[in-house]
Symmetry: C2
Subunit: 352 residues, 2 copies
């Protein structure tokens, strides 16, 4: 058993309190300054309003103003903010974390330097934490898990990755239950990169349904699974290539954190919904500013970061201009309102 | 342009006449002795009754009794029968094919020898053809393509694989259109093995929906995509391992013929439907003999062949008893009426 402080009361962070609390761990769920309504609700009747479920009774809710008290003495701090809050989270950890604690990250995405060099989000946390970053241990959870499914005890298989095997070995049993299966990996980079990339390709999962909607063929006998499958295949190929570019183990791509996670992410969610509008022919700026105004789109954000970086990496000769044709096409859509006209002939290494 | 004789008037073989006929090739569509009703319908008003579409006017329908006339002088003979008819097809080809023709196979599956040695179906065709097999060229089409989607011109990406690159290069342009994109590969074995394996894993795609149905939770807010994604991930891993066992190129698994094809096959179809009954708790013998009596289940048949062979290959020490845990579990379900209780902890190399 351990004392686990969870920073951020979003649906994924909160869902993970279910297996952890059921195993008898002491859980402190700390809302960020944006989560006050969630904490209000949990304090009132134990319900997480977005998840739509009562969370385990033993989970103690905290407002962000009480974060220091909540984190005091924790063995593990889970960083559960979304990718837009990762720098903020790093600043808080710099202030609140203590040497010897383990930081367990569940946020997916990437940041880029000016020259296009890409970094996984735990590296962003580390940078903001300064010297303290070397005095804590680092781990992350990856793999196909829709938050609500974990919370209602539907079977879920994930990978806990850590820089040191003993840290992964320490964390896994705290979370393992008969419905939450945990594998471990020391390929921190490969798993984190794959987790970001699958969010990118999920956006494309909406294209085929959108095209059918536009054509008025949604309920036809024949839909467009061939299209979706080809995109899935090219997505898997580019996901692997990105893992290789980072020096990660490419075999993660054939596993939970690769195609498994891409499968679940393609089945639905906000990024898929945004992609559906693209399929219907809506320029992306209109999706961002009107159709889905104010909706958090982590996959789309990752396309922006990675897509722009690819241009810079190409200019520097780090990658070829024929590499990552799908990510580049997605970038043109989200950054420059390009219409949906995918360069199929460039996929899979080039049609020939 | 070429003269293409298609043996078997099933939906996939017939759908492929669309791009080929639109490109100006001369197509002879030959029903087997089981396809008389289909050929009747095509001769009457051009409609394929199962596909539910009018086929291109230039496609000439033939009854099997006129097969010799239809095949005479063909550049390409497409073998379009299903996996249960492959031996029969080989016998017909032995009689009807001529040296110099190209045999283009679209049937997916495997056969096994007594000692568990597995063979791809083109090898079964070859064996039945005898010495003539060395005087023809061999090719196959793999990749994610639902037949009807090809026929209605929805975008489709596939791989034409051949033992010789020049054969693939000759075939591909005959079929390429603006909706039918063709890549080529000389990894005949790897692609064929992947195509069979994805049918095997499609069966598992029905489990989660079936479990939800049994629980009365089909319309709940949270369904079971995590479960489906974990199965997909383990399926991808075992698909790759099988390709490696055959000496194929494991990179096909990350491509159209691997995860792409597995994605499309998991989206629906007869094997998924059979898997749904398993999820609901129906013993497989009842599915076979009652619920889906008379329905052709190629994926389930492949589970039977491959699953039994795995036992023999394990006994001979060719593979370890920890290899292919998902295929083995599926085999127990279809061969021995085992209830659905997957050994999750053995997946992904073993939970640890």
């Amino acid at each position: 058993m351990a004392k686990i402080a969870v920073l951020g009361a979003g649906i994924m962070a909160t869902a993970l309190t279910f297996p952890a609390a059921e195993n008898g761990n002491e859980i402190h769920l700390i809302g960020t300054h944006l989560d006050d309504e969630i904490i209000d609700s949990v304090k009132k009747d134990g319900t997480h309003p977005v998840l739509g479920l009562r969370i385990p009774e033993s989970v103690k809710p905290y407002y962000f103003t009480d974060a220091a008290e909540a984190i005091e003495g924790a063995d593990i701090i889970m960083s559960g903010v979304n990718s837009f809050g990762v720098e903020w989270a790093g600043e808080q950890l710099a202030r609140l974390a203590k040497p010897g604690q383990t930081i367990l990250s569940i946020t997916k995405g990437m940041h880029a330097e000016e020259d296009g060099t890409l970094h996984i989000l735990p590296d962003v946390l580390k940078e903001k934490m300064g010297p303290l970053a070397d005095q804590v241990d680092w781990a992350a959870i990856v793999g196909p898990s829709i938050a609500g499914e974990v919370a209602v005890h539907h079977l879920t298989c994930v990978t806990f990755c850590a820089e040191k095997q003993e840290i992964a070995d320490k964390l896994a049993p705290l979370y393992r239950t008969d419905y939450y299966h945990v594998w471990t990996s020391t390929d921190f980079i490969g798993n984190e990169v794959a987790s970001c990339m699958k969010n990118i390709f999920a956006f494309g999962g909406g294209f085929a349904p959108g095209i059918l909607k536009k054509l008025g063929q949604e309920n036809d006998k024949y839909v467009m699974y061939n299209y979706a499958a080809a995109l899935f295949g090219e997505g898997a190929r580019e996901l692997k290539q990105m893992v290789e570019l980072f020096g990660g183990d490419p075999t993660v791509t054939e596993n939970l954190g690769g195609v498994g996670d891409m499968f679940v992410t393609t089945m639905g969610g906000r990024n898929v919904r945004a992609g559906t509008f693209v399929g219907q022919g809506v320029p992306f700026s209109e999706i961002r500013n009107v159709k889905m105004k104010g909706v958090t789109l982590e996959g789309v954000a990752a396309i922006g970061v990675v897509g722009e970086a690819l241009g810079r990496l190409t200019a520097r000769g780090v990658i070829k201009d024929t590499d990552f044709p799908l990510v580049r096409a997605l970038y043109e859509i989200v950054a420059h309102d390009a219409p949906l006209d995918l360069p199929w002939e460039t996929f899979f290494g080039g049609e020939r």
